[in-house]
Symmetry: T
Subunit: 156 residues, 12 copies
């Protein structure tokens, strides 16, 4: 059932739908991974990285909301439940237990790198079928790449 009438043709809608659902799962998992490390980090850089992680979490939460509501606006019911996230995320398993600050930064570099790679795919995939959705992905990518730089600079 399409509750919301989509302004897109069916073929376009399919492409855009997969891109949005994939982005949603990645972004929700990014927020969970960020919090996980925020709580478990130890080491001399504890406070600095602890605070920096909350900025990533805030970004990821805002972006996931934008993406999910974009899906709804196009007539696609988004799925951001824990099990969907656990099985479909592009982030490889976040480590459990205490984590040293250098490793914490490394884990975030990896997680952000994985999401950015997939997000750039989505920018390409949606250019034709829906430039409005593409614009959202472009801005999210810009923001994630900024976080990515900062964590890389931390470990340089």
């Amino acid at each position: 059932m399409y509750v919301v009438k989509s302004p897109l043709a069916d073929a376009d809608l399919k492409t855009v739908s997969e891109a949005l659902q994939g982005a949603l799962v990645d972004l929700v998992d990014l927020s969970l991974a960020g919090k996980q490390i925020h709580w478990n980090i130890v080491g001399p850089r504890f406070r600095s990285v602890h605070l920096q992680l909350d900025e990533v979490v805030a970004s990821a939460r805002t972006h996931s909301d934008t993406v999910a509501e974009r899906a709804s606006a196009l007539g696609i019911p988004p799925d951001g439940r824990a099990s969907t996230v656990a099985s479909g995320s592009g982030i490889k398993t976040t480590p459990s237990g205490w984590i040293k600050d250098g490793d914490a930064v490394g884990a975030m570099v990896d997680a952000l790198g994985a999401v950015i790679g997939r997000m750039r795919e989505r920018v390409r995939a949606t250019a034709e079928p829906d430039p409005v959705t593409q614009d959202i992905f472009i801005r999210i990518t810009a923001d994630l790449e900024k976080h990515h730089w900062m964590f890389q600079a931390e470990n340089a």
Copy 2:
């Protein structure tokens, strides 16, 4: 390894540790379930419930942070990762796809009811080993029961 020296005896620590980890999983899942329904709800009460759900999400996020940092403060590394949440949550499966407003309210009544039941257990279990942790659970329970009333009043 205990990075943080706990002020509690080992037996007490075990009880408190399980209570905190359980509460963390419930609260993270509550925030994900709240968002899931926030994005998928339809029907005449859409706007009202859509806004109300974001207040539950905000509460659940704040409480999950308090609980996880309490665990860390006691020397227990908290685990709030997607897979841990997916397998351990006290909330039964959140429905996927569009959801009518009445059903959305019903789903939240059930989810909150499940979490409150387990939270009251934790209030009892931690009274003796750590009144500081218990006080945190008491305040979270009061807040969740207020949300619970409001959703019940919605469907009365």
Copy 3:
């Protein structure tokens, strides 16, 4: 009819219910008494006490809302109507007409003292049946005793 499903057993609910209804009546009356004196006070300390009374009124209004919504959250419909307050309040009759500043302070010491006495009873009565409600009473008592001290210090 129980609109809201209570997490408490029936006997416990009865005790908690009476405590909450009694507290509501006391706090609404405290807000009315505070305003009454706020408007009618005269004397050299007029401005100082006039402002201080509005802080008591603000406290009493906030606490009465917390108490009434706690009752609702437990499935008990609260009653804060003028006639219920007029007949059930623990505050003895507030004087009418202009009131000298010293007498105004004295009237507030008495009013707060009466409410605090009854509130401490409620802390004791609810400890067993519902520690969540008790915690609310404990925090209200702490706040009222702070106001009580300040008015006593005024007339020392």
Copy 4:
């Protein structure tokens, strides 16, 4: 005793005094009735009306303060105690216990209608003896009639 020297002649003062005291009682009762329904309302429109009622309560509290301080400014000690309100209010008895949303709206339409009718009388009565007081009643009436429209529109 006249603590405050009134700028009005005695006959005028009597008229204005009765109008102000009557308005005070009505407005305090409106704030209590608004809260009573705010706490006890149930039904699908719960949240929307619950919030709307708090706006009426805020209006009524602000207006009652303006009216009472106007009385004091004219040398008339105002009386806003629970028993005075219970016996003198123009609002018919507010229902107790849970109240369905449609009935809640209806009760507010009646309460506001009753107060507006009396307030328009006071606008007429004070035009000659004190245009300053009349201006206060005019602005209160405009605000109450706006709330009145909104509740009527709710039940249309």
Copy 5:
């Protein structure tokens, strides 16, 4: 006369100019239609839709300002007068008089749908001649489609 020197070639300017003027007229009319319904809506969902409409009006006003100033920045004097709006808007006649809440929502779904259809045309038309203007249309479309979804969800 070109007061402001345009950075665009003449052919491009013509295309962009028509797109901007058309968008301006649609957006001004959307703000007027939104207010018209905001004032005339009745029914149980009155308050919720009444508030939601003011968010559409705020969006439409902001977007119309952005579009008109973009026209000026390109050397095109914008025209947002009542008669121009009345004759050129893409929104079909807004109904007059009281309007039931369900019909109000339906009218907004239609109005937003009409404007979105034309706005997507403008996104396509301006891609080549002026990507700066296109970017503005893309962001406006995203926002309007979000409002569109919400009103559709309301009537689902």
Copy 6:
């Protein structure tokens, strides 16, 4: 159909109704005219008048909302649609295209003068049938006359 029960007698209602509908049309047009000139003004005083015009627009929007909601509160459905405004406004046609700063100021002096003249009529007309509505017109007139002075002083 009267959705909202009017507190006025029928003859009074007719007078007040015409005054409110006329004021609404004038004020909506004033906001559109102010924006039109805000976007098209050129000349050395550009920035100063550009900003000043937005203050007139803000005033006109606020007043039109007050007037329309007053109409609704009296049971009169207000009409602020583009075509109604285009045909019924008291402002003579606003010029199109770029406009020199001195002419822009002159156009606003004329527009405000026209609206003020009609508004003072409405103050007189509503004095008897509804002093509450009259009070709203009085306050709007005071504000418009202040803007009128400022534009006249600009061109002195």
Copy 7:
């Protein structure tokens, strides 16, 4: 020379003009007298009255601005220069040097009483020629009478 075209007939303008100029002088002097006492007060009530006086000064400054700009809006150049104020004020000479708190309060009761008496005259005088100006005087009078009451209550 009339820079600003007045909406009033000449005879009316003369009455209103005198009322506005008189009010301006009284209000500027009230702000200077309030500051004079604010700086020179001594005694146990120093802090309380010191702060209260700044509220009178803030009121008087706001009202003097409203009155002077109303005069300008009617085409009457206002005169608020020190010498004009010194010679024309309705307040009798403010005392110089240190002033005991009780005397400070008494001086303000007298100053406010003098200004209120003259302001009520102006309310009467402007009712017919300009209800817009009258409304401004009514609101100023209400505010001054509130301050008057408070200082009287201080010395009761």
Copy 8:
């Protein structure tokens, strides 16, 4: 009588006392002159200078308060009454009636120049007897010289 015990020797106190009293009179008159021109200015630069004058008035009011309270802190009762200001100010008579914008700017250049000249004298005079007071004069001079530059730049 010395209510406040001065930390200065008698000879020093006399010098500092005269400097503070003179500065107070100049600054109060500057605030009155600024407002006088703020209300009476006409011409194309009306709005710009009208706003700029309010910044001078705000500065002058703040500085006069600082200076008067400094006098009190040294045991010198300040005198800022209208008649004292009218007879002792260093600003030559402010013009009455409408004033063209260029003349308005010129009048402020003169007024500020006069006050600055006297203030620099006071900086010199107080260097030895009280560096604390001197520091206050230095900061006031810096601020007045900034305003002075701006008005001179306006008329360049």
Copy 9:
């Protein structure tokens, strides 16, 4: 002399009194020690720890105020003077002079650990005689243990 009438029995009052006075001394010293290290810390983590210490200081100041006012509210005059703090604090001597960042963190771990140990004693001691005071100690302990964890994590 008991200025404030205590709601506690004499034996209970003695226990609670000692707990409150002890907590006050510990918390004031914690704020002084935090500032001391805030000013003297050097090393690569300077900025991060410098900022973190101000959060401890802010916490300690807020808690010391709560504790002291609770003592007053129970009729016990609190003593927070420098000499009382110097002789009675539970924190061992804070080092003087420049302090390396790692040592600074270590000093705070020790200071917080000492205060937490004593605070948990107070939680136990006051449970019976005054649950209101106990609740204050519980919340302070939760906050201190959170700071304690963070400093431990810094040095892990």
Copy 10:
């Protein structure tokens, strides 16, 4: 050395890198030129243009930060040092000394025109290699063109 791993291929990176470095230099120089004229402008429009220039400076500073951090995010160390700016800016030499308001506006029209021309080149150049960077240039261009219009309108 590449500290930050770039998501772009080498050829693309070269194009994007030159565009970002060029934009950085232009934007830093725009902020310096804006401040230079902000400080040196004289003439009747002094205040208006003085304030307007600070808005350009604020824009230029924000955009230069965005551009430089985008470079870093792509692994390109940005260079915004004074000598690099002095030699590489696209703005022709800013005049020194006092500058009349009309000339000041003209200088800004030229400076903005020069930067806009180069920025539109960059929009074209980066479309293919990096749409994320292009999006940043598009938004900066829109903002600069708005400032450009305003200065042109000033001198019309």
Copy 11:
């Protein structure tokens, strides 16, 4: 060891160092004394003086931070520990236990007087060796003398 390279010669540094350390001790003790009396004051002026004392405490805390960080900036490790304050303060012993409002004011007059006397010495002593530090002392002195006046005025 000098961690921070001082811009002052050794002899100058010694003078400035002693002045800063002395000022730090006085200001920390002033903040403790202010709080001590804030908590223990009783009498009719309780509320007024209670609030006023918190303003002194806030001033003293801010100034002590400024002074300590100035010391650090000059390479002097500041010492603000409880025992250093207890033994080196210029304030004579603050009384313990309840204190009547008049005595409280007197105690503050004495404490402020003592600190001001020593601070004026420091202004003199640092004029030559470091005008930057002197400027800080001058501003602190001005602020303390303002508080001093106010407490003296209270007891006049």
Copy 12:
């Protein structure tokens, strides 16, 4: 040409003029150097120093504005253009490319040290000719020395 009439004699003006122009160049370069390092820093202390540098930039921008406007206020046109800064700054060349955190801190210590040395010269040079300008330099020096300490402490 002197647009602005200087309150200083010619010889004094020359000294003050050179001091202000020199300070301006140093402060603008400090803001550019701060940003350069802010963008290029890498290493474990990245985030901490990255944020700290923005505080230096904010200080430098505010101080450069104060200094340039002080020059204008004295009739001296300030010169803050890129080429003037590049050739006249007291800061030795800022390094280009990525910079390790320790080196970044060292570069700021050097840059601040160089500017402070020159600023202390200006404090001496302007003491006689213009104490108002000197006071500005004193406050800037205090602020720069605080930043200097913090960076030195970072590298201790």
